[in-house]
Symmetry: C2
Subunit: 447 residues, 2 copies
């Protein structure tokens, strides 16, 4: 395959919205809704406060909204900040084949651009889906070798997707789309070493910003390599030890990565999800109250204790690394959203009392998305639940109702209920919006 | 070495201007002068026109000047554009150990910042030298493995240097300097695949911009890894197959990479420099005129013909890849600056006539910076010159007079002579400037 970049660029340029199957469009809408909830919900994080304090002096005209807040920045900075907000809780979407969080780089780009230049909702959704395809296909081509080296693939692959989406909105021709991918690719960056620091959420934001800039530069005739993906000194050789270009060009328009996107129901590392899922199911089936419970016994994949074995978390962030806290809070509150990982909940006496009754044992023959939960009540009775596939997995995806509950939980924490509800409805009907800028306008705090 | 990043950051934070030997400061001044000439001279290139057209709509307030032009952009965008201008002719400085072009990422950062916040000339020069040290030492640690993979080391190492220089101007403490290096490092990027396209000069510009942003983010407490250089998933492992951290931390404050900077006397690939040098020497020693010459015979390193063997160049750019044109133009004009690579000179009948009399033979035992030139005159007499080390090499550096001639040639092409001369004098006395913003203000075109 000698013309991988051209092949991909041509597909993006030639794509018509009508070519995209309805089910894929609906997957796109769900991804966008989930992203919007995460971005609005994460917008008050101190990561965002600090980024805004640092970059505000350099922002251009107030072209685009900072979601969940009052500020307006230029398109590039707005995309950067919104991309950070959407990832800062680690609660956004996951393309499970590559661990890419697809929406951050792409949605942040197209939503910010839509406020600056007339864009219909269908155009936005179309560009978003194409961007996700470009991003995830490039990820597929180099995963896992690329990730194993230490690259944060959401940033490194995301910048290509953002450029493709931005270029689609700008109506670039084939040559300029190739250049946009090239200008984007030569900015591809982001180390996994940054996990656990504010730089992690910087990566999807920077990918969005750099992708938009790449498309605008290409629009003006700013040249680049025609072979950024496949050249011996291009992306797939320089940034990976293995590669399969057929993952990029094979089945374009037939196999859709957007349809494989998944969503986290719980605001913590995915390995605890089966345990939380089982606890919430038992709670709801039996109307459990904390006082009823004598002990909770979990049998889990070994990774659970390795990654989330913290017995006595002191802060909300530490709570995310405690399977004990997670299950206790889930039984008491019936959820494990961002709120259940607040400092107050982690320090709550009732939660701590139940947490101390949770025991977990690792078993090699249990899968990562599997768990066995046994709850022994004070009256001696025993409740069992075997979670074969946690909610949020591809085998048991979150349904629209669950996505709405997650969105509401996140958005209502930041926006008044009526505004959060209106924003949710705009997301659902994005395909029919005459002006896609309505999305961002509905997502801000009115002074 | 477990704390490479901290060690380097601490050195930058603790450095006092008085610690820098006078000869190193003078090397810094020469680097700055050479950079300024290149940036002003390159500012009218279509690469710059296109970048400005694309990015102007997103620029913030007019905080900093675009050198050689009339526009003012925000600090970040000004650094980006000026960094591109300074590299677009491939005529800027070279750290020969790593092929880094040191000044682009660093000078573009500090000169743009100096217009936004009060900075003395000594502070600017100090930050510039520290930035070059950080950049070149990180380069030394991973060269040549890192470069051989396909990374454009000026961009990848430059972003660290830009962050260090910007952080020094902001007065960051040790922790924040570490974060600045981390935020910069996780943006490290740029493929050699982009050589020959406009993206090549984008790399130093982006490094300057991203380094400044990194320092400002760190100033606001935006966190990053403490170990971006040495961590298993950090820069030196992810982006190189070999590394020597002692190159970063060994002899800090004793060995100065700034003093090893070199400058191109001729606006073309360095392999032709010995031939041009010898031709100009013979011309000046003997007052040669083109009509006197029967033939020119060169014996050169094989790379010369491989890289610059174009017999009949049609454009200025092609002229840079023709040892024949280069020698002919040099004999006629006594120089091989940007002007001698203009389309008009390449198409000039006198130049073409002499070009056709130039013959070049490759010899394996001739070094890259060596050449033998034999000019046979119409009267049968023969002139010989053996260039052991070309002008511009470390063994035979350009003296101040040659640097001035180069600067004047570049700057006077864009600025009125009096303004170009005044700018040159400001560069020479940068150390004593009360307000380093004078530099940028002197380098713009007054409407």
């Amino acid at each position: 395959m000698t013309e991988v970049t051209r092949h991909l660029a041509k597909w993006v340029v030639d794509s018509k919205f009508a070519d995209i199957p309805a089910s894929v469009r609906q997957s796109g809408v769900r991804s966008l809704l989930n992203w919007m909830g995460c971005a609005v919900g994460g917008s008050r994080h101190e990561t965002i406060d600090r980024a805004i304090a640092a970059l505000k002096p350099f922002s251009g005209p107030g072209q685009s909204s900072i979601l969940g807040r009052t500020e307006k920045f230029d398109v590039l900075h707005a995309a950067l900040i919104n991309g950070m907000s959407s990832h800062v809780f680690d609660f956004d979407d996951t393309h499970l084949k590559t661990i890419i969080h697809p929406a951050g780089p792409i949605a942040s780009a197209v939503v910010a651009m839509a406020e600056h230049r007339p864009t219909t909702g269908a155009e936005l959704l179309h560009a978003f889906i194409l961007g996700v395809e470009v991003e995830c296909r490039i990820g597929n081509a180099v995963y896992p070798a690329h990730y194993d080296i230490g690259w944060h693939i959401t940033g490194t692959a995301g910048v290509f997707g953002a450029a493709a989406a931005a270029g689609k909105l700008l109506g670039l021709d084939e040559q300029k789309m190739i250049w946009a991918l090239g200008i984007a690719g030569t900015q591809s960056s982001g180390f996994r070493e940054m996990f656990g620091t504010m730089c992690k959420s910087f990566h999807p934001g920077a990918a969005a910003r750099n992708g938009i800039a790449a498309a605008h530069l290409a629009e003006q005739g700013f040249t680049s390599s025609n072979r950024v993906l496949e050249a011996p000194r291009g992306f797939a050789h320089v940034m990976s030890t293995a590669r399969d270009f057929n993952e990029i060009t094979g089945g374009l328009g037939e196999v859709w990565e957007t349809a494989l996107n998944s969503y986290k129901p719980f605001a913590c590392g995915i390995v605890i999800h089966p345990s939380i899922d089982g606890c919430i199911q038992l709670r709801n089936e039996h109307g459990l109250k904390p006082d009823d419970i004598a002990r909770v016994d979990l049998r889990v994949d070994p990774l659970v204790l390795e990654l989330t074995g913290k017995k006595t978390p002191q802060t909300g962030l530490e709570g995310k690394f405690s399977v004990y806290h997670s299950c206790a809070a889930a039984i008491i509150h019936g959820a494990a959203g961002e709120k259940e990982y607040g400092d107050a909940v982690v320090r709550d006496a009732t939660v701590i009392a139940l947490r101390d009754k949770v025991d977990a044992v690792a078993q090699d023959d249990i899968a990562e998305d599997e768990a066995f939960i046994k709850i022994t009540l004070r009256d001696g009775s025993v409740l069992n639940k075997h979670v074969e596939h946690a909610i949020g997995s591809l085998e048991r995806p979150m349904d629209d109702k669950a996505l709405v509950a997650k969105f509401d939980d996140l958005a209502r924490d930041v926006l008044p209920v009526e505004r959060a509800d209106a924003l949710r409805e705009l997301c659902w009907k994005v395909e029919s919006l005459k002006d896609a800028a309505d999305l961002a306008r509905a997502a801000v705090v009115v002074k």
